[in-house]
């Protein structure tokens, strides 16, 4: 599933669950970008990542960041790639950066905390991971 499709699906789910008129501001996932170039690059990164071409996915995401440096979704995707690359500290830091830029988007923040938890788990810090997962629970 492409990342754009994933976001659209999440949006639809949110609309269903919340009832169209009842959606709380800040509770709805917005599309990852209003810029078609960024969407294209996010999609490209997604498929490169799925093929295991992580270096190329990384390069695509960095291109997207040059266009939208303050887009927390792009930072989050980069964190995911780092997680796959086994660069756990970087994954944590990038997810933290995404968190900083996410403002009040609780969905994004929860996902970032899950990435941080996963990264901590994999580098052998179960306690830190637990704390991150708890944050993820509090966020949405």
């Amino acid at each position: 599933m492409t990342i754009v499709a994933r976001w659209i699906l999440m949006l639809i789910t949110a609309l269903f669950l919340g009832g169209c008129a009842m959606v709380q501001p800040g509770a709805t996932p917005t599309p990852p970008s209003g810029n078609t170039a960024v969407l294209t690059l996010l999609d490209k990164a997604q498929s490169q990542s799925a093929d295991g071409r992580l270096d190329e996915a990384e390069a695509s995401l960095e291109r997207a960041l040059r266009i939208e440096p303050r887009n927390p979704v792009v930072w989050q995707e980069l964190a995911r790639v780092r997680l796959e690359q086994g660069r756990y500290r970087q994954a944590e830091n990038l997810a933290a950066k995404s968190n900083m830029l996410a403002g009040t988007d609780r969905y994004l923040q929860a996902e970032n905390w899950r990435i941080i938890g996963e990264a901590r788990n994999r580098r052998g810090d179960p306690q830190g991971a637990q704390a991150a997962f708890e944050k993820a629970e509090q966020s949405p």
Partner: protein
């Protein structure tokens, strides 16, 4: 005995014959050895020239996409830098056509680390804001993203070729080769290094008493260029001919031609010889060879006959006549049409007055690239493997940075005279979130390849250190908030070994008790020293290192006012971390390194490390925005609209020796230093010197506003600035300030929500509702 003589004669004859054969044999062997020696020499020389492929350094490729804030004129500037040609109907890669708000272009293919970008024909449509749409030329299919090939900005050359602009035959315009063939060697593709007809003509000329001239094939000329001396003996001539023949056996015509184009002597610049068409092009026209016009081609090729005699700077008339002769020969040979000839004849010589020094237009940036490369590569690989280095340089930003520094320094000198003479400066621009270095200027004459102030000038940073002091305080929210009152009274510090230190405020006044925010916004020295001493100098210096200074620095009380010297690039690293929200990313000048064939070798991936908690950094940034809104940098309002909400800090050192400004918008960070090389006072403050440069540059770059993402754990509270206590939106002079959650004052000022006066007022309001 009678036999003896005859025998003797016979013997003598045999001996003579034997001797003759031996001499012959030795002669042949010696000849063979000599030829073998020549063969070895000439091949050695040739290989030495050919196979040392310098690393080529490229600017960032320009990415085009709908919504990009780029004007048509800015795209055209990029295309001109890339050497794209304007034509009425662009079909060949590297050509374009511009009409009003539409640019049609055909891109060149280029191998990037993550795949090759093929040549593409497209139309770029502009509207008022920038790129409105991209469509394929053929069927108007919309395109999301197109990457142009990057501009080459320099090379890393092997020692002997230090000063070369090496070109590959594929990058040489056809007309250059045509002109060479037409004028110097019109049977080049059919002879074997030596042209008997040419020689016959030369012999005839000499026989008639003329000078030895002409008759040399391009191959012979190349061989001649391998030697430093230019003596014209018959022996040298013969040696040349043998060597030319040998070269032709070993190498193809293309290989020989390419080496010729890079080797041949075309002029002199003091003690610097101008070898090769690439360098000559930059020396005479300040262009790359790909951009050269027909008339310029003819001029360069004309120079071959006598670079000194036809020197266009010294003898423009001779050069012009020679150029027109070359054009005539090209037309005669059918290489150009009569019309092209006539048109090129009317063109001016087009020689630039002062040749650029060095081979890169951006020596200061290249310096940074080279230093980063040397950490990862061996010097000889950089100079011989033909690596391709894709950097982060943005020519548009670099151009604006150069122009602003040179322009503002001249203005300052003119308007102030006296002390402000002999100013120098340096400037670094980065992109805020990924720390890519977009521009480096190390001299007010940006093409001067000398002392690179951006990297190497170590100067006291003055008040640029203050944000680090205040950040250290804000990281202790239970003790310090933006509203905390600081002591701005005079103090004298007695230190063992040195004289007493009595810092002063810029206005020589003491301001009593001042809110922390105000002290930073107005850059008060006394309150900063009081604060820093309370915090401890070491924690402040630790923070400075955490933010990005790797070097050891002495820590003393004067460090709190910026007595430590840093280079502009070091200051940039520190402010980078602040601008990026407390995430440290090493400044990056290189994106990737590719092999000569375009295969990825190394990527310099984006690395971030959170080194400051987001809450205290948010508070600091808000205060730095206030510096521009109402403090020492409020003069920026004359150049940049308030909506941009720029954050920045001025810096001035003792007796006005150094003028600094560091600031950032939503998309870029820039650090500027202005001062004199001899460290003499300039009379400039951070605001009157460096900030003028900063403002002029940013105004030309269409910056994005600095909108801080709402930070977790921040609350906004109205404060009475005099007492630092709680106030209310309706109260006189009250300011709304951000606080780390739970750190805001609870006690109310006279007009605050819990004050007696407020209660009475509320009581009255309720009464009259």
């Amino acid at each position: 005995m009678a036999k003896w003589p005859s025998k003797g004669r016979k013997k003598r004859r045999i001996v003579r014959t034997k001797t003759f054969f031996i001499v012959m044999l030795v002669g042949v062997l010696m000849m063979a050895a000599y030829v073998a020696y020549l063969d070895f020499t000439v091949r050695d020389r040739f290989e030495g020239k050919r196979f040392a492929l310098p690393a080529r350094v490229y600017a960032r490729p320009l990415e085009l996409y709908p919504g990009l804030r780029l004007r048509a004129t800015e795209l055209l500037a990029e295309l001109s830098l890339l050497g794209y040609r304007e034509t009425t109907r662009p079909t060949a890669p590297g050509s374009y056509h511009w009409s009003d708000q539409v640019v049609e272009l055909v891109t060149r293919p280029f191998a990037f680390g993550n795949g090759r970008q093929e040549s593409m024909a497209l139309r770029v449509l502009f509207d008022g804001g920038g790129v409105q749409a991209l469509v394929q030329q053929a069927d108007s299919t919309p395109l999301d993203l197109v990457r142009l090939d990057p501009a080459m900005i320099g090379g890393i050359y092997p020692g002997q070729n230090e000063d070369r602009v090496l070109v590959g035959l594929n990058d040489v315009p056809r007309q250059v080769v045509d002109a060479l063939i037409a004028v110097e060697d019109n049977r080049y593709y059919s002879h074997h290094g030596i042209d008997p007809r040419g020689i016959a003509r030369a012999v005839y000329t000499i026989a008639r008493g003329g000078r030895i001239q002409g008759g040399s094939t391009l191959t012979q000329q190349l061989v001649k260029n391998f030697y430093l001396t230019a003596d014209r003996t018959i022996r040298r001539k013969l040696t040349e001919m043998v060597m030319a023949g040998l070269l032709e056996i070993h190498y193809s015509k293309e290989e020989i031609l390419e080496t010729y184009l890079n080797e041949v002597y075309l002029g002199q610049d003091g003690n610097r010889a101008i070898h090769g068409f690439g360098l000559a092009c930059s020396f005479f026209f300040d262009k790359s060879l790909e951009q050269i016009s027909l008339s310029e081609t003819a001029l360069l090729v004309g120079l071959l006959k006598g670079p000194a005699y036809y020197n266009p700077r010294r003898h423009p008339k001779r050069a012009l006549e020679r150029r027109n002769l070359v054009l005539a020969k090209m037309a005669e040979g059918g290489f150009i049409t009569k019309n092209q000839q006539l048109e090129a004849r009317t063109a001016p010589l087009g020689i630039i007055d002062r040749p650029p020094r060095g081979t890169s237009p951006y020596p200061a940036f290249l310096d940074l690239v080279l230093r980063q490369l040397r950490r990862d590569y061996r010097e000889e690989d950089l100079r011989s493997e033909g690596l391709r280095i894709i950097t982060t340089l943005d020519p548009r930003v670099q151009g604006m940075a150069e122009k602003s520094l040179a322009g503002q320094l001249s203005l300052l000198e003119k308007s102030r005279g006296g002390m402000a003479a002999g100013l120098q400066g340096a400037l670094v621009v980065t992109s805020v979130h990924d720390a890519e270095v977009q521009a480096v200027v190390g001299d007010r004459n940006p093409r001067y390849k000398g002392f690179d102030r951006a990297l190497d000038a170590l100067r006291p940073v003055g008040s640029l250190i203050k944000p680090v002091v205040y950040l250290t305080a804000l990281q202790r929210p239970q003790q310090y908030t933006l509203a905390t009152l600081l002591d701005d009274s005079p103090l004298v510090l007695k230190q063992a070994g040195t004289g007493d230190w009595a810092p002063q405020n810029y206005d020589k006044e003491s301001h009593g008790l001042v809110p922390l925010r105000t002290a930073l916004v107005n850059s008060y020295n006394l309150s900063t020293v009081h604060l820093g001493l309370a915090l401890g100098v070491d924690p402040v210096m630790d923070n400075l290192h955490r933010l990005g200074v790797d070097r050891e620095l002495p820590a003393f009380a004067a460090s709190l006012l910026g007595a430590n010297a840093l280079s502009p690039i070091e200051v940039t690293q520190v402010y980078q971390t602040i601008a990026a929200g407390g995430f440290r990313t090493p400044l990056k000048a290189i994106r990737e390194v590719l092999t000569a064939d375009g295969e990825p070798l190394q990527r310099y991936s984006l690395e971030v490390e959170q080194v400051v908690d987001p809450t205290s950094l948010y508070l600091l940034t808000v205060a730095l925005q206030d510096v521009v809104r109402e403090g020492t940098a409020r003069g920026l309002a004359a150049r940049l609209p308030a909506e941009l909400q720029v954050a920045g800090k001025t810096g001035t050192t003792d007796e006005f020796r150094d003028s600094w400004f560091a600031g950032f918008t939503g998309d870029r960070l820039a650090v500027v230093w202005v001062g004199r090389d001899d460290d003499q006072p300039t009379g400039l403050t951070g605001a009157s010197g460096a900030m003028a440069v900063w403002g002029a540059m940013m105004a030309g770059l269409d910056p994005e506003p600095l909108i801080l993402p709402e930070a977790d754990g921040i609350e906004r509270v109205w404060i009475d600035p005099v007492s630092g206590l709680l106030s209310d939106s309706g109260c006189p002079d009250a300011v709304e300030l951000p606080f780390a959650a739970g750190s805001a004052p609870t006690e109310s000022a006279a007009c605050g929500p819990r004050s007696v006066g407020k209660s009475i007022k509320n009581w009255f309001e309720r009464l009259f509702k």
